[in-house]
Protein backbone atom coordinates (compact mmCIF):
# COMPACT_ATOMS: atom_id res chain seq x y z
CA UNK A 1 0.00 0.00 0.00
CA UNK A 2 2.70 2.49 1.00
CA UNK A 3 4.58 1.66 -2.19
CA UNK A 4 1.48 2.35 -4.22
CA UNK A 5 0.91 5.70 -2.54
CA UNK A 6 4.52 6.75 -2.97
CA UNK A 7 4.40 5.76 -6.62
CA UNK A 8 1.26 7.84 -7.15
CA UNK A 9 2.85 10.86 -5.46
CA UNK A 10 5.99 10.53 -7.56
CA UNK A 11 3.88 10.34 -10.71
CA UNK A 12 1.99 13.48 -9.75
CA UNK A 13 5.11 15.64 -9.41
CA UNK A 14 6.09 15.84 -13.11
CA UNK A 15 2.47 16.46 -14.00
CA UNK A 16 2.39 19.39 -11.57
CA UNK A 17 5.64 20.79 -12.95
CA UNK A 18 4.20 20.45 -16.44
CA UNK A 19 0.99 22.17 -15.36
CA UNK A 20 2.83 25.16 -13.88
CA UNK A 21 4.90 25.39 -17.05
CA UNK A 22 1.74 25.31 -19.15
CA UNK A 23 -0.06 27.96 -17.15
CA UNK A 24 3.08 30.09 -16.92
CA UNK A 25 3.52 29.91 -20.69
CA UNK A 26 -0.08 30.83 -21.39
CA UNK A 27 0.00 33.79 -19.03
CA UNK A 28 3.43 34.89 -20.24
CA UNK A 29 1.64 36.26 -23.29
CA UNK A 30 -0.77 38.35 -21.29
CA UNK A 31 -0.39 41.91 -22.48
CA UNK A 32 0.19 43.89 -19.33
CA UNK A 33 2.39 46.59 -18.05
CA UNK A 34 2.91 45.70 -14.42
CA UNK A 35 5.46 48.39 -13.69
CA UNK A 36 3.04 51.10 -14.70
CA UNK A 37 0.29 49.42 -12.73
CA UNK A 38 2.42 49.39 -9.63
CA UNK A 39 3.90 52.84 -9.99
CA UNK A 40 0.86 54.63 -11.35
CA UNK A 41 0.45 56.69 -14.51
CA UNK A 42 2.58 59.60 -13.28
CA UNK A 43 5.77 57.55 -13.04
CA UNK A 44 8.75 58.48 -15.17
CA UNK A 45 10.08 56.26 -17.95
CA UNK A 46 13.27 55.65 -15.95
CA UNK A 47 11.35 54.58 -12.89
CA UNK A 48 9.29 52.17 -14.96
CA UNK A 49 12.37 50.77 -16.63
CA UNK A 50 13.98 50.27 -13.24
CA UNK A 51 10.84 48.59 -11.94
CA UNK A 52 10.71 46.26 -14.96
CA UNK A 53 14.30 45.33 -14.27
CA UNK A 54 13.48 44.67 -10.63
CA UNK A 55 10.46 42.54 -11.51
CA UNK A 56 12.51 40.61 -14.02
CA UNK A 57 10.13 41.49 -16.85
CA UNK A 58 13.04 42.01 -19.24
CA UNK A 59 14.55 38.60 -18.59
CA UNK A 60 14.20 35.88 -21.21
CA UNK A 61 11.32 33.43 -20.86
CA UNK A 62 13.21 30.52 -19.34
CA UNK A 63 14.99 32.67 -16.82
CA UNK A 64 11.68 34.05 -15.70
CA UNK A 65 10.14 30.57 -15.49
CA UNK A 66 13.12 29.29 -13.54
CA UNK A 67 12.92 32.19 -11.12
CA UNK A 68 9.20 31.69 -10.72
CA UNK A 69 9.63 28.00 -9.95
CA UNK A 70 12.42 28.80 -7.51
CA UNK A 71 10.06 31.11 -5.69
CA UNK A 72 7.13 28.67 -5.91
CA UNK A 73 9.07 25.89 -4.24
CA UNK A 74 9.75 28.26 -1.37
CA UNK A 75 6.10 29.27 -1.27
CA UNK A 76 6.67 32.63 -2.94
CA UNK A 77 4.37 33.42 -5.85
CA UNK A 78 5.61 36.93 -6.43
CA UNK A 79 3.85 40.22 -5.89
CA UNK A 80 0.49 41.35 -7.09
CA UNK A 81 0.76 43.98 -9.82
CA UNK A 82 -2.40 45.57 -8.57
CA UNK A 83 -1.40 46.50 -5.04
CA UNK A 84 2.08 45.04 -4.62
CA UNK A 85 0.85 42.62 -1.95
CA UNK A 86 2.29 39.13 -1.71
CA UNK A 87 0.28 36.75 -3.88
CA UNK A 88 1.17 33.79 -1.65
CA UNK A 89 -0.10 35.56 1.44
CA UNK A 90 -3.31 36.63 -0.23
CA UNK A 91 -3.95 33.11 -1.49
CA UNK A 92 -3.05 31.60 1.86
CA UNK A 93 -5.65 33.84 3.44
CA UNK A 94 -8.29 32.80 0.93
CA UNK A 95 -7.54 29.14 0.31
CA UNK A 96 -9.21 28.06 3.55
CA UNK A 97 -12.44 29.74 2.47
CA UNK A 98 -12.34 27.97 -0.87
CA UNK A 99 -11.67 24.66 0.87
CA UNK A 100 -14.62 25.19 3.20
CA UNK A 101 -16.93 25.86 0.28
CA UNK A 102 -15.57 23.10 -1.95
CA UNK A 103 -15.70 20.45 0.77
CA UNK A 104 -19.18 21.51 1.80
CA UNK A 105 -20.30 21.24 -1.82
CA UNK A 106 -18.65 17.88 -2.29
CA UNK A 107 -20.00 16.48 0.96
CA UNK A 108 -23.49 17.71 0.14
CA UNK A 109 -23.27 16.08 -3.29
CA UNK A 110 -22.04 12.73 -1.98
CA UNK A 111 -24.48 12.54 0.91
CA UNK A 112 -27.42 13.29 -1.37
CA UNK A 113 -26.20 11.71 -4.58
CA UNK A 114 -25.20 8.19 -3.58
CA UNK A 115 -28.31 7.15 -1.59
CA UNK A 116 -30.62 8.71 -4.17
CA UNK A 117 -28.80 6.87 -6.95
CA UNK A 118 -29.02 3.53 -5.14
CA UNK A 119 -32.69 3.99 -4.38
CA UNK A 120 -33.37 4.91 -7.96
CA UNK A 121 -31.53 1.86 -9.31
CA UNK A 122 -33.04 -0.62 -6.90
CA UNK A 123 -36.49 0.68 -7.75
CA UNK A 124 -35.84 1.03 -11.46
CA UNK A 125 -38.76 2.40 -13.49
CA UNK A 126 -40.74 3.21 -10.35
CA UNK A 127 -42.15 6.67 -9.62
CA UNK A 128 -39.20 7.46 -7.38
CA UNK A 129 -36.82 6.50 -10.15
CA UNK A 130 -38.63 8.60 -12.73
CA UNK A 131 -38.74 11.60 -10.42
CA UNK A 132 -35.04 11.23 -9.63
CA UNK A 133 -34.13 10.96 -13.28
CA UNK A 134 -36.17 14.04 -14.09
CA UNK A 135 -34.78 16.18 -11.28
CA UNK A 136 -31.18 15.14 -11.91
CA UNK A 137 -31.59 15.80 -15.63
CA UNK A 138 -32.74 19.28 -14.75
CA UNK A 139 -29.99 19.90 -12.20
CA UNK A 140 -27.15 18.86 -14.52
CA UNK A 141 -28.49 21.32 -17.09
CA UNK A 142 -28.98 24.32 -14.81
CA UNK A 143 -26.31 27.01 -15.14
CA UNK A 144 -24.71 27.48 -11.71
CA UNK A 145 -25.04 31.22 -11.69
CA UNK A 146 -28.69 31.21 -12.74
CA UNK A 147 -29.54 28.67 -10.10
CA UNK A 148 -27.73 30.82 -7.57
CA UNK A 149 -29.70 33.88 -8.60
CA UNK A 150 -32.99 32.04 -8.15
CA UNK A 151 -31.93 30.75 -4.73
CA UNK A 152 -30.87 34.23 -3.66
CA UNK A 153 -34.13 35.77 -4.83
CA UNK A 154 -36.20 33.20 -2.94
CA UNK A 155 -34.26 32.54 0.26
CA UNK A 156 -32.42 35.80 0.78
CA UNK A 157 -34.37 38.60 -0.83
CA UNK A 158 -37.95 37.36 -0.45
CA UNK A 159 -37.91 35.13 2.63
CA UNK A 160 -34.91 36.77 4.37
CA UNK A 161 -33.87 33.42 5.81
CA UNK A 162 -30.30 33.45 4.64
CA UNK A 163 -27.73 36.07 3.70
CA UNK A 164 -27.53 36.86 0.00
CA UNK A 165 -23.76 37.07 -0.06
CA UNK A 166 -20.56 37.20 1.93
CA UNK A 167 -19.06 34.87 4.46
CA UNK A 168 -20.35 35.00 7.99
CA UNK A 169 -18.04 35.29 11.00
CA UNK A 170 -18.61 32.89 13.88
CA UNK A 171 -19.98 29.38 13.58
CA UNK A 172 -23.70 29.99 13.12
CA UNK A 173 -23.39 32.96 10.72
CA UNK A 174 -20.73 31.02 8.82
CA UNK A 175 -22.98 28.00 8.43
CA UNK A 176 -25.90 30.20 7.46
CA UNK A 177 -23.87 31.98 4.83
CA UNK A 178 -22.57 28.64 3.61
CA UNK A 179 -25.95 27.08 2.85
CA UNK A 180 -26.83 28.80 -0.42
CA UNK A 181 -23.33 28.59 -1.95
CA UNK A 182 -23.14 24.92 -0.98
CA UNK A 183 -26.45 24.10 -2.62
CA UNK A 184 -25.47 26.10 -5.68
CA UNK A 185 -22.16 24.35 -6.00
CA UNK A 186 -23.26 20.89 -4.95
CA UNK A 187 -26.58 20.36 -6.73
CA UNK A 188 -25.26 19.67 -10.22
CA UNK A 189 -22.51 17.54 -8.75
CA UNK A 190 -25.05 15.62 -6.64
CA UNK A 191 -27.16 15.02 -9.71
CA UNK A 192 -24.16 13.68 -11.59
CA UNK A 193 -23.22 11.40 -8.71
CA UNK A 194 -26.81 10.16 -8.43
CA UNK A 195 -26.94 9.32 -12.11
CA UNK A 196 -23.59 7.56 -12.06
CA UNK A 197 -24.52 5.64 -8.94
CA UNK A 198 -27.77 4.57 -10.53
CA UNK A 199 -26.18 3.34 -13.73
CA UNK A 200 -23.30 1.57 -12.03
CA UNK A 201 -25.62 -0.12 -9.55
CA UNK A 202 -27.81 -1.20 -12.45
CA UNK A 203 -24.71 -2.62 -14.10
CA UNK A 204 -23.80 -4.54 -10.96
CA UNK A 205 -27.36 -5.76 -10.35
CA UNK A 206 -27.13 -7.87 -13.49
CA UNK A 207 -23.91 -9.58 -12.46
CA UNK A 208 -23.93 -13.27 -11.63
CA UNK A 209 -22.38 -12.76 -8.23
CA UNK A 210 -25.46 -10.87 -7.10
CA UNK A 211 -27.55 -13.94 -7.90
CA UNK A 212 -24.92 -16.07 -6.18
CA UNK A 213 -25.32 -13.95 -3.06
CA UNK A 214 -29.09 -14.24 -3.21
CA UNK A 215 -28.80 -18.00 -3.77
CA UNK A 216 -26.84 -18.19 -0.53
CA UNK A 217 -29.90 -16.97 1.33
CA UNK A 218 -28.51 -13.53 2.09
CA UNK A 219 -31.09 -10.82 2.76
CA UNK A 220 -31.79 -8.22 0.11
CA UNK A 221 -30.40 -5.49 2.36
CA UNK A 222 -27.06 -7.27 2.62
CA UNK A 223 -27.09 -7.89 -1.11
CA UNK A 224 -27.45 -4.17 -1.77
CA UNK A 225 -25.17 -2.70 0.87
CA UNK A 226 -22.48 -5.35 0.89
CA UNK A 227 -22.39 -7.02 -2.49
CA UNK A 228 -23.60 -4.29 -4.80
CA UNK A 229 -22.35 -1.07 -3.33
CA UNK A 230 -18.76 -2.11 -2.90
CA UNK A 231 -18.54 -2.96 -6.58
CA UNK A 232 -20.58 -0.02 -7.78
CA UNK A 233 -18.38 2.32 -5.77
CA UNK A 234 -15.42 2.05 -8.13
CA UNK A 235 -17.00 3.98 -11.03
CA UNK A 236 -18.64 6.35 -8.54
CA UNK A 237 -15.28 7.27 -7.04
CA UNK A 238 -13.94 7.91 -10.55
CA UNK A 239 -16.76 10.31 -11.31
CA UNK A 240 -16.42 12.06 -7.97
CA UNK A 241 -12.70 12.55 -8.59
CA UNK A 242 -12.82 13.53 -12.24
CA UNK A 243 -15.55 16.05 -11.65
CA UNK A 244 -13.84 17.68 -8.72
CA UNK A 245 -12.22 19.84 -11.41
CA UNK A 246 -15.59 21.15 -12.50
CA UNK A 247 -16.49 21.62 -8.87
CA UNK A 248 -13.47 23.91 -8.54
CA UNK A 249 -14.53 25.62 -11.76
CA UNK A 250 -18.01 25.98 -10.31
CA UNK A 251 -16.55 27.41 -7.14
CA UNK A 252 -15.08 30.27 -9.19
CA UNK A 253 -18.60 31.19 -10.32
CA UNK A 254 -20.16 30.51 -6.93
CA UNK A 255 -17.59 32.58 -5.08
CA UNK A 256 -18.11 35.45 -7.51
CA UNK A 257 -21.89 35.39 -7.16
CA UNK A 258 -21.92 35.12 -3.37
CA UNK A 259 -18.91 37.40 -2.85
CA UNK A 260 -17.25 34.51 -1.07
CA UNK A 261 -13.69 35.55 -0.23
CA UNK A 262 -11.97 32.56 -1.81
CA UNK A 263 -9.29 31.91 -4.40
CA UNK A 264 -11.82 31.59 -7.23
CA UNK A 265 -13.05 35.11 -6.79
CA UNK A 266 -9.46 36.29 -6.58
CA UNK A 267 -8.79 34.83 -10.05
CA UNK A 268 -11.77 36.59 -11.58
CA UNK A 269 -10.84 39.94 -9.99
CA UNK A 270 -7.21 39.55 -10.98
CA UNK A 271 -8.06 38.78 -14.59
CA UNK A 272 -9.97 42.05 -14.89
CA UNK A 273 -6.95 43.93 -13.49
CA UNK A 274 -4.54 42.01 -15.73
CA UNK A 275 -2.76 41.06 -12.55
CA UNK A 276 -0.86 38.19 -14.13
CA UNK A 277 1.05 37.09 -11.06
CA UNK A 278 -2.12 36.80 -9.06
CA UNK A 279 -3.88 34.85 -11.82
CA UNK A 280 -0.90 32.54 -12.17
CA UNK A 281 -0.67 31.96 -8.45
CA UNK A 282 -4.35 31.18 -8.04
CA UNK A 283 -4.57 28.87 -11.05
CA UNK A 284 -1.47 27.01 -9.89
CA UNK A 285 -2.89 26.71 -6.37
CA UNK A 286 -6.21 25.33 -7.57
CA UNK A 287 -4.40 22.94 -9.91
CA UNK A 288 -2.35 21.61 -7.01
CA UNK A 289 -5.56 21.17 -5.03
CA UNK A 290 -7.13 19.28 -7.94
CA UNK A 291 -4.06 17.06 -8.24
CA UNK A 292 -4.16 16.26 -4.53
CA UNK A 293 -7.81 15.25 -4.79
CA UNK A 294 -7.04 13.01 -7.76
CA UNK A 295 -4.25 11.47 -5.74
CA UNK A 296 -6.68 10.81 -2.92
CA UNK A 297 -9.06 9.20 -5.40
CA UNK A 298 -6.30 6.89 -6.62
CA UNK A 299 -5.60 5.85 -3.07
CA UNK A 300 -9.28 5.24 -2.32
CA UNK A 301 -9.35 3.09 -5.45
CA UNK A 302 -6.65 0.90 -4.05
CA UNK A 303 -8.61 0.55 -0.83
CA UNK A 304 -11.80 -0.61 -2.49
CA UNK A 305 -10.48 -2.50 -5.49
CA UNK A 306 -8.54 -5.61 -4.44
CA UNK A 307 -7.13 -5.95 -7.95
CA UNK A 308 -4.96 -2.90 -7.28
CA UNK A 309 -4.34 -3.63 -3.63
CA UNK A 310 -3.04 -7.12 -4.21
CA UNK A 311 -0.80 -5.93 -7.02
CA UNK A 312 1.20 -4.10 -4.45
CA UNK A 313 0.60 -6.19 -1.38
CA UNK A 314 1.65 -9.59 -2.68
CA UNK A 315 5.33 -10.13 -3.15
CA UNK A 316 5.07 -12.81 -5.77
CA UNK A 317 3.44 -10.41 -8.22
CA UNK A 318 5.64 -8.95 -10.92
CA UNK A 319 7.81 -6.11 -9.80
CA UNK A 320 6.69 -3.67 -12.43
CA UNK A 321 3.00 -4.03 -12.10
CA UNK A 322 1.22 -2.28 -14.91
CA UNK A 323 -0.22 0.98 -13.80
CA UNK A 324 -3.77 1.37 -14.93
CA UNK A 325 -3.64 4.21 -17.38
CA UNK A 326 -6.69 3.42 -19.37
CA UNK A 327 -9.50 5.87 -18.91
Amino acid sequence: MARYIIKRILLAIPVLIGATFLVFTILFFTPSDPARMILGSSATEEAIEAMNEELGINDPFFVRYFNYMKGLVQGDMGRSYRNNSSVSETIAGRLGNTLILASAGMLFAIIIGIPVGILSAVKQYSKIDNATMFITLFLTAVPTFWYALILVIIFALKLHWLPASGMGVGLVPLLKSLILPTITLGSGYAAMIARTTRSSVLEVIRQDYIDTARAKGVSEKTVIWKHMLKNALIPIVTVVGLNFGSLLGGSVLTETIFSWPGVGRYVVDSISYRDTNAVLGSVVTLTILFTIVNLAVDIIYALIDPRIKSQYAVKRRKKHAQSENAV
Partner: protein, 305 residues
Amino acid sequence: MHKAKTQFDPAVKDKQEQRTLFQQAVRQFKHNKMAVAGLIIILILLAIIIATVVIDIVTDQSFYNEHVIKQDLSLRLAKPSAEHIFGCDEYGRDLFLRIIWGTRLSLTIGIAAIFLSVIIGAPFGIIAGYYGKTTDNIIMRFMDVLLSVPYILLAMAIVAALGKSTINLLIALSVSGIAKYARIARASVMVVKDNEYVEAARAMGANDFTIMFKYILPNALAPILVQLSLGIGDSILAVAGLSFLGLGVQYPQAEWGAILTAARTYMLQAWHVSIFPGIALIISVIAFNLFGDGLRDALDPKLKR
Protein backbone atom coordinates in the same frame (compact mmCIF):
# COMPACT_ATOMS: atom_id res chain seq x y z
CA MET B 1 -4.49 -4.60 -58.99
CA HIS B 2 -6.69 -1.84 -57.69
CA LYS B 3 -9.83 -3.58 -58.70
CA ALA B 4 -8.77 -6.80 -57.14
CA LYS B 5 -8.07 -4.95 -53.96
CA THR B 6 -11.51 -3.47 -53.59
CA GLN B 7 -13.00 -6.84 -54.16
CA PHE B 8 -11.28 -8.35 -51.17
CA ASP B 9 -11.12 -5.19 -49.17
CA PRO B 10 -12.69 -5.93 -45.81
CA ALA B 11 -13.71 -2.29 -45.67
CA VAL B 12 -16.30 -2.95 -48.37
CA LYS B 13 -17.89 -5.61 -46.29
CA ASP B 14 -17.32 -3.47 -43.24
CA LYS B 15 -19.35 -0.72 -44.80
CA GLN B 16 -22.29 -3.00 -45.39
CA GLU B 17 -22.10 -4.24 -41.87
CA GLN B 18 -21.82 -0.73 -40.60
CA ARG B 19 -24.95 0.29 -42.39
CA THR B 20 -26.91 -2.39 -40.66
CA LEU B 21 -25.31 -1.48 -37.36
CA PHE B 22 -26.18 2.11 -38.10
CA GLN B 23 -29.75 1.15 -38.89
CA GLN B 24 -29.90 -0.79 -35.66
CA ALA B 25 -28.68 2.26 -33.79
CA VAL B 26 -31.28 4.43 -35.50
CA ARG B 27 -34.02 2.00 -34.56
CA GLN B 28 -32.78 1.87 -30.99
CA PHE B 29 -32.63 5.66 -30.89
CA LYS B 30 -36.17 6.07 -32.24
CA HIS B 31 -37.36 3.81 -29.48
CA ASN B 32 -36.10 6.28 -26.90
CA LYS B 33 -38.79 8.98 -26.68
CA MET B 34 -36.73 11.33 -24.51
CA ALA B 35 -33.85 11.23 -26.96
CA VAL B 36 -36.14 11.93 -29.88
CA ALA B 37 -37.61 14.87 -27.95
CA GLY B 38 -34.05 16.12 -27.41
CA LEU B 39 -33.32 15.81 -31.10
CA ILE B 40 -36.48 17.72 -32.01
CA ILE B 41 -35.54 20.57 -29.67
CA ILE B 42 -32.05 20.63 -31.16
CA LEU B 43 -33.52 20.85 -34.65
CA ILE B 44 -35.78 23.71 -33.57
CA LEU B 45 -32.79 25.55 -32.08
CA LEU B 46 -30.91 24.95 -35.31
CA ALA B 47 -33.83 26.35 -37.29
CA ILE B 48 -33.83 29.44 -35.07
CA ILE B 49 -30.12 29.94 -35.66
CA ILE B 50 -30.51 29.58 -39.42
CA ALA B 51 -33.50 31.91 -39.43
CA THR B 52 -31.60 34.64 -37.58
CA VAL B 53 -28.65 34.29 -39.93
CA VAL B 54 -30.93 34.53 -42.96
CA ILE B 55 -32.75 37.56 -41.56
CA ASP B 56 -29.44 39.27 -40.83
CA ILE B 57 -28.19 38.63 -44.35
CA VAL B 58 -31.42 39.64 -46.07
CA THR B 59 -31.92 42.82 -44.05
CA ASP B 60 -28.20 43.53 -43.96
CA GLN B 61 -28.31 43.47 -40.16
CA SER B 62 -30.77 46.35 -40.03
CA PHE B 63 -33.37 44.24 -38.24
CA TYR B 64 -30.71 43.12 -35.78
CA ASN B 65 -29.53 46.66 -35.15
CA GLU B 66 -33.06 47.99 -34.93
CA HIS B 67 -34.54 45.40 -32.56
CA VAL B 68 -31.77 43.53 -30.82
CA ILE B 69 -29.12 46.20 -30.29
CA LYS B 70 -30.97 49.53 -30.32
CA GLN B 71 -31.89 50.85 -26.90
CA ASP B 72 -35.19 52.38 -25.90
CA LEU B 73 -34.96 53.60 -22.35
CA SER B 74 -38.69 54.29 -22.16
CA LEU B 75 -39.19 50.53 -22.06
CA ARG B 76 -36.50 49.94 -19.46
CA LEU B 77 -37.16 46.64 -17.64
CA ALA B 78 -40.72 46.56 -19.01
CA LYS B 79 -42.68 43.58 -17.74
CA PRO B 80 -43.83 40.91 -20.21
CA SER B 81 -46.75 42.14 -22.30
CA ALA B 82 -48.55 41.28 -25.51
CA GLU B 83 -46.12 43.40 -27.44
CA HIS B 84 -42.98 42.15 -25.71
CA ILE B 85 -43.84 38.64 -24.58
CA PHE B 86 -40.68 38.21 -22.47
CA GLY B 87 -40.59 41.88 -21.49
CA CYS B 88 -37.60 44.18 -21.99
CA ASP B 89 -34.10 44.38 -20.57
CA GLU B 90 -32.41 47.23 -18.74
CA TYR B 91 -31.93 49.16 -21.99
CA GLY B 92 -35.50 48.62 -23.14
CA ARG B 93 -34.58 46.01 -25.74
CA ASP B 94 -37.04 43.23 -26.46
CA LEU B 95 -35.90 40.27 -24.39
CA PHE B 96 -37.56 37.69 -26.60
CA LEU B 97 -35.65 38.85 -29.66
CA ARG B 98 -32.40 39.10 -27.70
CA ILE B 99 -32.84 35.53 -26.56
CA ILE B 100 -33.68 34.38 -30.09
CA TRP B 101 -30.61 36.13 -31.48
CA GLY B 102 -28.57 34.98 -28.52
CA THR B 103 -29.18 31.37 -29.50
CA ARG B 104 -26.59 31.70 -32.21
CA LEU B 105 -23.67 32.70 -30.04
CA SER B 106 -24.70 30.72 -26.98
CA LEU B 107 -24.97 27.45 -28.83
CA THR B 108 -22.51 27.73 -31.70
CA ILE B 109 -19.54 28.64 -29.52
CA GLY B 110 -20.20 25.70 -27.25
CA ILE B 111 -20.74 23.27 -30.10
CA ALA B 112 -17.86 24.57 -32.19
CA ALA B 113 -15.53 24.39 -29.20
CA ILE B 114 -16.34 20.72 -28.66
CA PHE B 115 -15.87 19.89 -32.33
CA LEU B 116 -12.52 21.69 -32.37
CA SER B 117 -11.45 19.82 -29.23
CA VAL B 118 -12.34 16.52 -30.88
CA ILE B 119 -10.72 17.38 -34.21
CA ILE B 120 -7.48 18.33 -32.49
CA GLY B 121 -7.59 15.90 -29.59
CA ALA B 122 -8.79 12.70 -31.25
CA PRO B 123 -5.87 12.33 -33.73
CA PHE B 124 -3.44 12.63 -30.81
CA GLY B 125 -5.36 9.94 -28.99
CA ILE B 126 -5.50 7.71 -32.05
CA ILE B 127 -1.76 8.04 -32.66
CA ALA B 128 -0.99 7.41 -29.00
CA GLY B 129 -3.27 4.41 -28.84
CA TYR B 130 -2.04 2.97 -32.11
CA TYR B 131 1.70 3.28 -31.64
CA GLY B 132 1.74 2.75 -27.90
CA LYS B 133 5.04 2.73 -25.96
CA THR B 134 7.08 5.93 -26.11
CA THR B 135 4.77 7.79 -28.48
CA ASP B 136 1.85 6.98 -26.22
CA ASN B 137 3.79 8.02 -23.15
CA ILE B 138 4.89 11.36 -24.55
CA ILE B 139 1.45 12.30 -25.88
CA MET B 140 -0.50 11.10 -22.88
CA ARG B 141 1.79 12.69 -20.28
CA PHE B 142 1.26 15.97 -22.11
CA MET B 143 -2.49 15.33 -22.00
CA ASP B 144 -2.22 14.56 -18.28
CA VAL B 145 -0.71 17.99 -17.81
CA LEU B 146 -3.52 19.64 -19.78
CA LEU B 147 -6.04 17.66 -17.78
CA SER B 148 -4.50 18.54 -14.44
CA VAL B 149 -5.64 22.15 -14.75
CA PRO B 150 -9.40 22.34 -14.11
CA TYR B 151 -11.26 22.95 -17.40
CA ILE B 152 -12.83 26.32 -16.60
CA LEU B 153 -9.65 27.65 -14.97
CA LEU B 154 -7.56 26.71 -18.00
CA ALA B 155 -10.06 28.44 -20.24
CA MET B 156 -9.99 31.49 -17.95
CA ALA B 157 -6.21 31.62 -18.06
CA ILE B 158 -6.23 31.46 -21.85
CA VAL B 159 -8.84 34.21 -22.10
CA ALA B 160 -6.81 36.28 -19.66
CA ALA B 161 -3.76 35.89 -21.89
CA LEU B 162 -5.46 36.43 -25.23
CA GLY B 163 -7.94 39.09 -24.16
CA LYS B 164 -11.69 39.04 -23.80
CA SER B 165 -13.48 38.28 -27.05
CA THR B 166 -15.81 35.77 -28.58
CA ILE B 167 -13.10 34.18 -30.72
CA ASN B 168 -10.70 33.93 -27.78
CA LEU B 169 -13.41 32.28 -25.73
CA LEU B 170 -13.81 29.71 -28.49
CA ILE B 171 -10.06 29.10 -28.61
CA ALA B 172 -9.86 28.82 -24.83
CA LEU B 173 -12.65 26.27 -24.57
CA SER B 174 -11.34 24.23 -27.50
CA VAL B 175 -7.85 23.97 -26.07
CA SER B 176 -9.19 23.10 -22.62
CA GLY B 177 -11.17 20.19 -24.06
CA ILE B 178 -8.40 18.60 -26.15
CA ALA B 179 -7.05 16.28 -23.46
CA LYS B 180 -10.44 14.78 -22.65
CA TYR B 181 -11.08 13.70 -26.23
CA ALA B 182 -7.53 12.52 -26.76
CA ARG B 183 -8.03 10.18 -23.80
CA ILE B 184 -11.36 8.90 -25.05
CA ALA B 185 -10.01 8.34 -28.57
CA ARG B 186 -6.97 6.53 -27.20
CA ALA B 187 -9.05 4.25 -25.02
CA SER B 188 -11.35 3.29 -27.83
CA VAL B 189 -8.48 2.75 -30.29
CA MET B 190 -6.81 0.43 -27.79
CA VAL B 191 -9.95 -1.69 -27.78
CA VAL B 192 -10.18 -1.85 -31.56
CA LYS B 193 -6.59 -2.08 -32.66
CA ASP B 194 -6.04 -5.74 -31.88
CA ASN B 195 -8.97 -6.90 -33.99
CA GLU B 196 -8.20 -9.29 -36.79
CA TYR B 197 -9.34 -7.06 -39.61
CA VAL B 198 -6.63 -4.62 -38.54
CA GLU B 199 -4.11 -7.46 -38.72
CA ALA B 200 -5.55 -8.38 -42.10
CA ALA B 201 -5.19 -4.85 -43.40
CA ARG B 202 -1.60 -4.80 -42.19
CA ALA B 203 -0.95 -8.13 -43.86
CA MET B 204 -2.27 -6.66 -47.08
CA GLY B 205 0.35 -3.95 -46.89
CA ALA B 206 -1.73 -0.99 -45.74
CA ASN B 207 0.39 1.74 -44.19
CA ASP B 208 -0.06 3.03 -40.67
CA PHE B 209 -1.98 6.08 -41.77
CA THR B 210 -4.49 4.02 -43.76
CA ILE B 211 -4.89 1.55 -40.93
CA MET B 212 -5.44 4.26 -38.35
CA PHE B 213 -7.90 6.40 -40.22
CA LYS B 214 -9.58 3.94 -42.55
CA TYR B 215 -9.76 0.78 -40.47
CA ILE B 216 -9.48 1.78 -36.83
CA LEU B 217 -11.14 5.19 -36.69
CA PRO B 218 -14.56 4.14 -38.10
CA ASN B 219 -14.72 1.35 -35.56
CA ALA B 220 -13.51 3.48 -32.68
CA LEU B 221 -15.83 6.34 -33.55
CA ALA B 222 -18.88 5.42 -31.49
CA PRO B 223 -17.52 6.26 -28.03
CA ILE B 224 -15.98 9.46 -29.36
CA LEU B 225 -19.29 10.58 -30.86
CA VAL B 226 -21.15 9.73 -27.70
CA GLN B 227 -18.76 11.72 -25.52
CA LEU B 228 -18.86 14.56 -28.02
CA SER B 229 -22.62 14.83 -27.85
CA LEU B 230 -22.62 14.46 -24.08
CA GLY B 231 -19.99 17.20 -23.83
CA ILE B 232 -21.99 19.79 -25.75
CA GLY B 233 -24.28 20.57 -22.81
CA ASP B 234 -21.34 21.25 -20.50
CA SER B 235 -19.65 23.30 -23.17
CA ILE B 236 -22.73 25.49 -23.61
CA LEU B 237 -22.84 25.98 -19.84
CA ALA B 238 -19.14 26.89 -19.85
CA VAL B 239 -19.72 29.54 -22.52
CA ALA B 240 -22.55 31.02 -20.50
CA GLY B 241 -20.51 30.80 -17.29
CA LEU B 242 -17.50 32.57 -18.74
CA SER B 243 -19.71 35.20 -20.36
CA PHE B 244 -21.35 35.66 -16.98
CA LEU B 245 -17.92 36.35 -15.49
CA GLY B 246 -17.36 38.89 -18.26
CA LEU B 247 -14.72 36.72 -19.92
CA GLY B 248 -16.73 35.73 -22.95
CA VAL B 249 -19.12 37.38 -25.29
CA GLN B 250 -18.86 41.15 -24.90
CA TYR B 251 -21.47 43.87 -24.77
CA PRO B 252 -23.70 44.65 -26.70
CA GLN B 253 -23.87 41.32 -28.49
CA ALA B 254 -26.76 39.10 -27.50
CA GLU B 255 -25.76 35.98 -25.60
CA TRP B 256 -27.69 34.25 -22.83
CA GLY B 257 -24.90 34.24 -20.24
CA ALA B 258 -24.16 37.90 -20.89
CA ILE B 259 -27.84 38.80 -20.61
CA LEU B 260 -27.92 37.05 -17.24
CA THR B 261 -24.91 39.01 -15.98
CA ALA B 262 -26.78 42.22 -16.55
CA ALA B 263 -29.99 40.74 -15.19
CA ARG B 264 -28.30 40.03 -11.89
CA THR B 265 -28.26 43.69 -10.95
CA TYR B 266 -31.99 44.01 -11.48
CA MET B 267 -33.16 40.67 -10.27
CA LEU B 268 -35.53 42.10 -7.70
CA GLN B 269 -37.19 44.72 -9.89
CA ALA B 270 -37.30 42.60 -13.01
CA TRP B 271 -37.35 38.85 -12.46
CA HIS B 272 -38.19 38.17 -16.10
CA VAL B 273 -34.77 39.28 -17.32
CA SER B 274 -33.20 36.49 -15.25
CA ILE B 275 -35.82 33.82 -15.80
CA PHE B 276 -36.16 33.63 -19.57
CA PRO B 277 -32.54 33.37 -20.66
CA GLY B 278 -31.99 30.82 -17.90
CA ILE B 279 -34.87 28.70 -19.14
CA ALA B 280 -33.55 28.94 -22.71
CA LEU B 281 -30.19 27.67 -21.48
CA ILE B 282 -31.69 24.84 -19.44
CA ILE B 283 -33.88 23.65 -22.30
CA SER B 284 -30.97 23.64 -24.73
CA VAL B 285 -28.63 21.83 -22.38
CA ILE B 286 -31.28 19.25 -21.47
CA ALA B 287 -31.96 18.69 -25.17
CA PHE B 288 -28.29 18.00 -25.90
CA ASN B 289 -27.94 15.79 -22.82
CA LEU B 290 -31.00 13.74 -23.75
CA PHE B 291 -29.71 13.40 -27.28
CA GLY B 292 -26.32 12.31 -26.00
CA ASP B 293 -27.84 9.78 -23.59
CA GLY B 294 -29.95 8.37 -26.41
CA LEU B 295 -26.94 8.15 -28.67
CA ARG B 296 -24.97 6.33 -26.00
CA ASP B 297 -27.74 3.83 -25.41
CA ALA B 298 -28.15 3.30 -29.14
CA LEU B 299 -24.45 2.81 -29.82
CA ASP B 300 -23.48 0.89 -26.71
CA PRO B 301 -24.51 -2.72 -27.23
CA LYS B 302 -23.68 -3.47 -23.62
CA LEU B 303 -26.69 -1.51 -22.45
CA LYS B 304 -29.02 -2.93 -25.07
CA ARG B 305 -31.78 -4.93 -23.53
